[in-house]
Symmetry: none
Subunit: 209 residues, 4 copies
DNA sequence: CATGAATGAGCCTTCATTCAT
DNA sequence: GATGAATGAAGGCTCATTCAT
C-alpha cells in the first residue's frame, strides 16, 4: 500500500552529512517555488531539479517522488503558515477586539502565503490523502474556536442558542473562503475591508454585547 | 493563443446530423461520469470514449481536447446545477424564512451535485481560465444576494452598517464552503444542521428585525 | 498480482483489423530475432521496435511489456518447436529404431531452434514463472516417454527393474542437456555422434532385447 | 576490450592491509548471499554494500563491477563446490559401487549448493564468458570420467563399443541435469531416487558385468 | 461520420560510476 | 582506506493527437 502523503514517518531518512542536508533543503525550497509558480499538477521533477541546480539523480537521493517532496514542502512551511490560530481569550480583553485581531492575523498570514494555500487547495482536490490532511487541520483550528465560543457562552457574553461547534465551523469557513476568493481566485479587495466584514459578522452572529 | 475554456463561443460547431448530435450528447454524458468518478486530472480521453462506446477518432470529431469537453459538461450541467439562487424577496414573506428556504435549496442542490461541484473546484485550482469562470459565477450569485440585502436595509429590516456587497460575499462564502467541507471533503454532517447554523448566522449577521 | 507469463489468457485482446494483426505479427517476429540475437536480459524494447520498424507507442498497443511479447514469441514458436515428441511405438517397428529416430528428430529440431532454446533456458533462470512453464513442458514430454517405456516393460522387451518415470526423466534429461551443451554452450560435435551415443545409452539402459 | 570475467588474472590486486583483506572478504560473502537470494540480474551493487555494511565507494576500492565480484564469488566458492569429482577407481573396488558413491556425493554436493549452481547456470545463460568458463569446467569433469571409463574398457569390464568421451559426456549431462531439475527448477524428488536411477543407467549403459 | 492503428514527445525512475572529503 | 553525495545515460511507460481507411 502506498503510504499516505503528509505522514512524516514515510520520508526517507535524513542525509548523513551537512552537505546532504544542504542539498535537501535546497531541493525543498526549489520545489516550493516551482509548485507555487506552476501548480502541483503542471510541475515536473526536472523543473524542480533545474531550479535547485542539481541532477534528477540527486532528487531521488532524498525523495521518492513528487508527493514526497510536496509533503516535505508542507512540513517545511508549517512554521511559516502558523498564524495566530484564531481568537484567544487573553485576560479580560474585549471579545470583539480579540476577534478582530485574530481575523486580521489570519488574513495577513493567508495573504503572505497565498500561493501555498492555493497549492494546498489544489492538491486536496486531487489527492484524497491530502484532502484528509487538509480537513484534519481545519478541524483542529475550528475546535479551538469552538471551545472559545463555548466559554463566552458560559460567561453569558455570547448567544447561547448557537451550537458552538457548528458556529465555529461556519464562521471559520467564511473567513478562509473569503481569503481564498481574494488572494487565490483573484477577487481583489483590500485586506481591511475583508477584516471588517468578517469581524462584524462574527460579532453579530454571536450577538456579542 | 489557446482559446479560454469555459467560453461557449469557441466550441466546435454543432453536429449537422441527428446521429452526430446523439453521438456528441453521449460523449458529454460519458465525460461527466468519468470526470466525476476519476477527477479531471486523472481521467484520460480513452476513458471517456470507452465509457461512451465510441472511438477516440469520434471524440476529435466533436471536441478539441479535454478542456473542450469539460466546458461542454459544464454547459450541459448548468440547468441541473441551477439552484434557486439565494434569498428572493417574494411578496411580503418573512425574510428569515426566505433565507432559510434558499439556504436549504442551495445546500440540497449542492448535495445532489456534490461530485460535480468537487470537479469544478478541482479544475478551478488547476486551470486559471476555469478559476475566472468560477469566480464570475460566484459573483453573479453574490450580486443577487447583495441587492436583496440592500432592499432589506432600505426598508429598515436589516442592519444598515453592513456593506451589502461584502456581507453578501462573506455570507455566501460561508454557505458554499460549509457545503464543500461536508460533501466534498467528507466532513459528514446532517444537511439540517448545516441549514440551521448558516441560516442562524445570516439572520444574526443582518440583525433582522 | 502480476499475471504469470506464458499464460495466453493475459495477453491483450487481438487487434480488430487486418492491419493491426499484421503489425502485431511483425512485432513478434522482430522480438524473436532480437531476443535470439541479444538475449532476453540485454534486449530493449526500442531494439524490438527498431527491428519492426515501428514506434514504441505501437509496441504498447499490442503488448504490456517485455515478458508479454516474450510469451507471444513462445506461443508463436510452439508449432516450430514441436519435435516428434519422443519415441512412438508404431506398429511392430524395432524399439531401438524408434528410439534412434526420435532422438535424431529431437536433436535436429533443437539444432534448428537452438537460439530459441537458449533463450528459454535463460529466461527460466531469471523468471520463476517461466521456470515453472519450462518444467511443466518437460514433464509432459517425459510423461509420454515414461508411458512408452512402461509398455515395453509390459511386453517383456525392456528391463523391468527400472522405474519408468525416473528412467524417462533421466534419459530425457540426458538428451536435452547434450543438445544444450552442443548448440547453446558451443561444445561443437556432429549431430550424428550425439544421436548415436544417446541412442546407445537409451538402448543399454533399458536393456532392450 | 573488456577483460573476460572468470579470469582470475584480471582481478584488482589484493588489498595491502589486513583491514583491506577483511573488508574485501566481507564483500565477497555479502555478494554471494545477495546473488543467491536475488539472482545475478536482479541484484544491485547497493544491495551488496548494504549487506556488507559498507559504502559503495568501498566496493569500487576492491572490484570494478558486478561481474568482477561475481568472479570473486566463484573463486571463493570453488573449494566449497568441490565435490568428489565423479567415479574414482580406487584399488579393486566394485565399479558399480564407485559409480553409486560418486553419484551420491555429486548429488549431495549439488543439493547443498543448489542456489549457487542455479546462479552459475543463470549467468552462463547471460554472459558468454561465463558460459565458456562453465563449459570448460564441465569438460574437465567429463574428461576424468572418460579416462576412467576407458580404463574399465581396457580391463574388459565395460562395453567396448561406446566412445568413452561421448559416453562420459552424456552420462555426466544426465546427472547434472537431473540435479538441476530437482533442486533448481523445483521438481522435487528424493535424492535417493535420483541416485538410484542415474546409477542404474550408468551401469546399464556401460554394461558392467 | 466513424474507426482505431500509429505516432513520439515527454515524463518518471533506476543504478552503475565518479570523486571530493 | 572509507565514505556517500552527485551524476546522467538509459530505458520504461503514458497518452494526446493525427490520419488513412
Amino acid at each position: 500500500m502506498k503510504p499516505s502523503p503528509g505522514d512524516p514517518a514515510k520520508l526517507k531518512e535524513p542525509p548523513a552529512t551537512v552537505r546532504g542536508a544542504r542539498t535537501r533543503a535546497t531541493l525543498v525550497q526549489a520545489a516550493r517555488r516551482v509548485f507555487e509558480r506552476d501548480g502541483y499538477v503542471n510541475s515536473r521533477l526536472t523543473d524542480i531539479t533545474a531550479e535547485a541546480h542539481c541532477s534528477i539523480g540527486t532528487f531521488y537521493t532524498y525523495f521518492d517522488g513528487k508527493d514526497e517532496i510536496f509533503t516535505a514542502v508542507l512540513l517545511d512551511a508549517q512554521a511559516d503558515m502558523m498564524h495566530p490560530g484564531g481568537p484567544r481569550l487573553e485576560g479580560d480583553a474585549d471579545p470583539a477586539e480579540i476577534i478582530r485581531a485574530s481575523n486580521r492575523a489570519y488574513l495577513q498570514a493567508y495573504q503572505r502565503n497565498a500561493r501555498l494555500m492555493a497549492l494546498m487547495e489544489q492538491v486536496a482536490g486531487i489527492d484524497e490523502n491530502f484532502a484528509a490532511l487538509r480537513l484534519e487541520r481545519a478541524k483542529a483550528f475550528t475546535d479551538r474556536n469552538a471551545r472559545w465560543i463555548e466559554k463566552l457562552q458560559d460567561r453569558g457574553l455570547a448567544a447561547s442558542d448557537l451550537d458552538p461547534h457548528l458556529a465555529a465551523s461556519a464562521l471559520s469557513s467564511m473567513v478562509s473562503r473569503m481569503a481564498y476568493n481574494t488572494w487565490v481566485l483573484g477577487d481583489e479587495r483590500p485586506v481591511d475591508d475583508i477584516t471588517e466584514i468578517v469581524t462584524q459578522i462574527w460579532i453579530n452572529a454571536l450577538r456579542l454585547e
